[in-house]
Symmetry: C2
Subunit: 216 residues, 2 copies
């Protein structure tokens, strides 16, 4: 069997998805900063948000280099990603940090799984835009503080995290159904078992919930 | 007459004002990105916003080095700056870019005037956080497009810009009345005529309006 080659349009599809994900994560986290209980935390979330824009810029530049206008590559994902965020609008600071924690980590796990399907330089680029672990540490510390202040919060945040994953998977399913080339890239022909991939993502998510003191 | 010395608390006061201005400009511009007519412009505004956070970080680090927690230095400005933004919520993309254009430029003019009152390294820091001129060029180009599409927009944006300046001056007056040390720093004792300073800021604003094709 010959080595798999990366189909061009699917790569632009993937980079467009990741780029728009970064752009929207930036906007939503920046907006969520208003829910921070103090200026220190407000600035910390704004800086987490700003980091996404640096990544967005790198992905957009790569799309341009591939001859694909970034807006064109991102357009198919506007509706599903917007729907995800609209249906998961945090109501308080604990929900804000939980959403950032859950969303960043699942995105990173997905990117690590997918990177193998890519040729260089796209492989290195996708691995490079993973989130800095200090942001996850900040979010976990904030979740722990919220739960320590009021133990009943653990139940509410656990439920919130399940809703985040549910909404994300539902939009991911929609994208997968509509973007055959992207799905084929992720599945690398038949070499990757896509339900298995989802299983791994959710198992890692469950482990992370335990780290933050939440239940799956 | 001896050389003026910079009073310590007043410098922290000034850096706190500029830092919170950057933090809030970041949040508001990030939120305003949703009004962009396409993904290209949406990303452009998000990148303008993200630039503010890099500056915020530098100012916060300097405050920390001076032994002043950034949150403490920023607290006095939360109410007036929030009031400015709440009273100038843009309704469409043309208002978004006009607000960014007017606000960035007046901030920069003010910082250039004030820098002279500071010792190093604060003088260099304040001059360093001035906005990149390519953002002003982007905003001017967008205003011209909006006016070219519909000449009546020029009148509406001119009125909008006057309101932005009016609201900014009204909040600046409040801050000046409440923060005597900061006002003394700006006035450098009696060496700077503060009404004259406001006169220079508004004259420069009028000239910029003309560049963008708007009337004062």
């Amino acid at each position: 069997m010959s080595a798999p080659t990366t189909p061009g349009p699917a790569v632009a599809d993937l980079l467009g998805l990741v780029a728009f994900g970064e752009l929207l994560a930036f906007e939503r986290m920046a907006a969520d900063a208003r829910l921070a209980p103090d200026l220190h935390r407000r600035a910390a979330l704004s800086q987490m948000a700003a980091a996404e824009i640096g990544n967005y810029r790198r992905l957009a530049d790569r799309l341009t280099a591939l001859g694909v206008p970034p807006e064109e590559a991102m357009t198919p994902y506007v509706q599903p990603l917007q729907a995800y965020h609209d249906s998961t609008e945090p109501r308080d600071w604990a929900e804000v940090v939980t959403k950032a924690y859950v969303g960043d980590a699942i995105t990173d796990d997905f990117l690590r799984e997918i990177a193998d399907a890519l040729d260089e330089p796209d492989r290195a680029l996708v691995l490079d835009v993973l989130h800095d672990s200090r942001y996850a540490e900040f979010a976990v510390a904030e979740i722990r503080v919220a739960v320590a202040d009021d133990p009943r919060v653990a139940g509410r945040l656990s439920m919130w995290a399940r809703r985040l994953v549910g909404e994300a998977l539902s939009q991911a399913g929609r994208v997968a159904a509509e973007r055959a080339a992207l799905t084929a890239l992720i599945a690398r022909g038949d070499r990757v078992d896509v339900p298995g991939l989802f299983g791994r993502l959710t198992a890692a998510h469950t482990a992370r919930m335990a780290v933050a003191g939440l239940n799956n």
